[in-house]
Subunit: 151 residues, 2 copies
């Protein structure tokens, strides 16, 4: 089942079978946490721009990270054995993530859509529009956290 989910996410967006790296479960957890963490830093930068002095170039750079991360095929990092802490790597993913394929796909696609839109809107430099789209993107992150993340 877990492999099915990973394969599903891996092929969902580009419609192709990808080259696979041979990663240990603890490596998958480490990399996916790194991706979310680095994205959080970039979301934080956009927030700081919206609340302080708006710098178009910084927001574009941050939105590029958010979009690139969303499109990076992170489903491959939810393979077999990554449903629990392993090899010193902790995970907050709920067991349901590996069982509810349709919901995972729905939330993942919504998040990718909003992240791509954020990248587009950021490029315009329209701070008010970025604020709206930043909110939508954050909501798409939260939707998955609420459903599939512990805490």
């Amino acid at each position: 089942m877990k492999k099915v989910v990973a394969a599903l996410l891996l092929t969902t967006c580009a419609g192709a079978v990808y080259a696979q790296q041979a990663l240990k479960p603890e490596e998958m957890i480490k990399y996916r946490k790194a991706g979310y963490s680095f994205m959080a830093w970039n979301m934080g930068k956009i927030k700081a721009n919206l609340e302080g002095t708006y710098n178009k170039e910084q927001v574009i750079a941050a939105a590029n990270v958010v979009a690139a991360t969303a499109n990076s095929g992170m489903g491959a990092l939810f393979g077999a054995g990554t449903d629990k802490d392993v090899g010193g790597e902790k995970t907050r993913v709920k067991p349901e993530f590996f069982k509810e394929q349709d919901k995972v796909k729905e939330l993942a696609m919504a998040y990718i859509k909003e992240a791509n839109e954020l990248q587009k809107v950021a490029a315009t430099g329209d701070a008010a529009a970025v604020k709206v789209q930043f909110g939508k993107t954050g909501e798409s992150c939260k939707a998955c956290h609420d459903k599939f993340r512990k805490d």
Copy 2:
């Protein structure tokens, strides 16, 4: 001195002063390690494509992450107090990083240049050209690791 380096890196590429997040040293270390780690996963994916079945879309997606990371202003994550382990976050950065501004700038700019070129070449789908540029990008990573990273 540390603040100077951070400010330098922050302004080097876009020539503008950016909105700043108030981050603790351990948060800066966490985020920068996350960025390098997630980039490493994406570099690994490109390597797997070059050594196995080449999938243009996956390479483009991975190169987009590498380039977006390179352009994300990570110099801001080398602020005061991040030259040593702090708050449970370990770092392998050498003290020299915070003293040799010109060399840091030189290596950072070289890495950004190669990462941007990798993104451009990936978009063409020319695997042979990607292989060459992947090598150059990896060398630009290694140049900084050799000079400023412990181990």
